[in-house]
Amino acid sequence: MSDATQPDTAKAGPVLAADGTPLKRSLARSLRVQKMRAMALIAPLLIFVLVSFIIPIGSMLFRSVENGMVEQTLPLTVVELQAWDASTGELPDEPLYAAFVADMVIAIDAKRHTRLGTRMNYEKTGMSSLFRKSGRQIKKLDPATDGPFKDQLIEIDKKWGEHETWSVIKTHSVAITNGYFLNAIDMQRTPDGAQAQPEDKRILITLFKRTLIMSMIITCSCIALAYPAAWLLANLPARSANMLMILVLLPFWTSLLVRTSAWKVMLQQQGVINDVLVWLGMVSDASRLVLINNQTGTIIAMTHILLPFMILPMYSVMRTIQPTYLRAAKSMGATNWTAFWRVYFPLSVPGIGAGSILVFILSIGYYITPEIVGGTKGVFISNRIAYHISSSLNWGLAAALGTILLAVVLILYWAYDKIVGIDNVKLG
């Protein structure tokens, strides 16, 4: 029967589904419904990630170039400033001063002028008090009747009669600025283009380099310590391996602050390690070792804190390596070392890769541990980002530093993918 009907349908054109629509369309529709259903199922998560992660991070990153404040607070002045040629060395003329007073009277009313003062103070010292103090006087002026203003303003504060004041405002009046990024790499935006910061204010490049180098050292020391531990865990009988695994996980579950503070007690000059060494007579009381408040302290404490992130992926990869491979190698005459180096080690590389990426990326953004045990030479770029977020309130610079850090991580990830291959990374 089926044999008889088949040629019929083939002749009649497209294959039809049970309800008479062409099968192709019907299939497409049902696939679309499935896709919609899948989308609907992940929609809550997608929206959550979008709202709570992507959008906030995006808007934070946007602050690294956003500089609308000057234009919003002083709209008329910005227009006049564009007409003013700073390179002549002449002060601006009366129209600009009049526009400035008109802008300021509105800004003072809305209490926005001191905000602008804080913003400009990042670029030129003294702007903060200039805006705050002048605001009290300018408040009393009426832009319509009290002109001309040039001499009055210079009377209020002689800085309004200085060429530099106006050229700094002009330089930083663009709505989208590269100024924060220049600051983030120890340069500054000037009327004559980008220039290097004075030498005694350069610090951020140093911190970037230090963050990368120390993160690599921490990753390497984690590999060195974790490899034997993971090997032991993978090769012990299950019962004792589980016991040891708890020892690995226990510090992992302890609060970060507690572990860091514990290292303080261990490492300081009157601390446990030094006391034991002095008691053993290995160092004299006068020359106790300086193990904390420097790079050594940061490396020791962070290696300890990040060690589980290295051991766990290594362990899960090593557990899958068949012991028979090693026995096969040895039965063919390989020494212990050759069997390990030529057979076991290459098989364990995916674990090292996964652990290294985890540890390196985590340590690059570490903040609290370097702050507590790092002293002056062991702090990271993240400590500076935290300072600009919570103390100096220079969120634009903090955002620029964060963006650069994010870019560095992505570049390293890309390079890792090119060299080792990201498929070659296994978490188990």
């Binding site: 005694d200 300081q268 002056t376």
Partner: protein
């Protein structure tokens, strides 16, 4: 039974919204300081009005958090305890409400208006001063030899007082002390510090002890370092040193010379609803009157910000020792003092901090 339960549920449902309004969030520093406020202000206020107070120990990040809350359009704090420099910044940013001292704060018992009673300490239009504290040095009595340090330059004298010192990891105060000990007259310190040469001079002086300094960033660091004998002397807030000396009985003593006075007090965030604003002002009126400010000094060794409170300062509530000699404002302790120069540091903070951090990293 069932009717009883229903009745209970109904009453709770009816009472709950009213009870919600009788709550306010007060932000402070945590630790012993918040405890002193709890006993001197919060508990009596709750007893008087029935308003329950939620504590949030976020003062260290108050400025950044208030800015973020303001941008998000949802300010959840009612009253915030900040240092004067932060109050000035919050006022500048338009994040704090302006306060009219004479109408919004209680007059002194003898009728002196609040603006006179607080006097010069009203350093910002938005700031309600609460205490005067100081950043001063403490030293280990057993590690300084026979001659205990009596003046600030002992900090820079590593020959007479070998060993580590702890200083705060920021330029403020350290730069002033360095210039003072480099021979700059006290009256000229800020004029000198305003010039690049003066800044270099201060850093050069700090350079002479750089290898002997442990830099702290949390107020609890120096007390711990002193207690462990890690440092021979160190700067911190005087209340922290009081607790090391009197409560923990460590062999530590005060070096009051060239202590830097600073103020701590309240601000009310801008943009609160009228109801919450009225509530916050009611609390402020109560908590900053003459008696309440004097009461706080029973629990912590910080001086009350009102002139009229000073004669009322008595004994420590638990230890029973006389508090006046432990106050930074006591005449015996205040022979040589600095007042934190708010205007100067508001301008120079970013510039000098960049130089200071670059110097530290060198």
């Amino acid at each position: 039974m069932k009717t009883k339960l229903t009745a209970l549920v109904v009453t709770t449902a009816l009472v709950a919204p009213a009870a919600m309004a009788q709550e306010m969030t007060i932000v402070s520093w945590g630790g012993a300081y918040s405890k002193s406020q709890l006993r001197a202000y919060h508990e009596p206020y709750t007893a008087k009005t029935g308003v329950s107070i939620i504590n949030d120990d976020s003062s260290a990040e108050a400025v950044a958090k208030l800015r973020a809350m303001d941008e998000a359009g949802n300010v959840t704090w009612d009253v915030v305890d900040v240092v004067a420099a932060d109050a000035i910044r919050l006022c500048d940013e338009g994040l704090a409400m302006e306060i009219d001292a004479d109408t919004m704060l209680a007059a002194a018992p003898d009728g002196t208006p609040a603006s006179e009673d607080f006097g010069d300490l009203l350093v910002s239009d938005c700031f309600i001063p609460q205490i005067v504290y100081s950043t001063a040095f403490g030293y280990r009595t057993d590690l300084v030899g026979d001659t205990a340090p009596t003046e600030i330059c002992a900090v820079f004298d590593t020959d007479a007082y070998p060993g580590k010192r702890s200083l705060e990891k920021r330029p403020i105060n350290n730069m002033e002390w360095a210039l003072l000990c480099d021979g700059v007259a006290k009256s000229d310190v800020y004029d000198v510090l305003a010039t690049p040469e003066g800044q270099d001079k201060a850093l050069a002086k700090l350079d002479t002890i750089k290898d002997d300094v442990i830099w702290w960033s949390a107020g609890a660091d120096t007390p711990q370092l002193l207690a462990d004998g890690e440092v021979v002397m160190g700067s911190t807030y005087n209340g922290r040193l009081f607790s090391v000396i009197e409560e923990q009985k460590q062999p530590v003593a005060m070096l009051w010379d060239a202590q830097v006075f600073d103020l701590d007090g309240w601000i009310i965030p801008a943009g609160l609803s009228d109801e919450r604003k009225a509530q916050a002002l009611d609390y402020i009126m109560f908590a900053t009157d003459t008696q309440r400010l004097a009461d706080q000094a029973k629990y912590i060794s910080y001086g009350p910000a009102r002139k009229s409170s000073a004669p009322l300062v008595g004994k420590h509530a638990d230890m029973g020792i006389e508090m006046a000699p432990h106050m930074p404002t006591d005449p015996e302790n205040a022979k040589n003092t600095f007042l934190y120069n708010y205007e100067f540091w508001a301008d120079y903070r970013d510039d000098i901090d960049a130089k200071f951090q670059a110097w530290l990293a060198k």
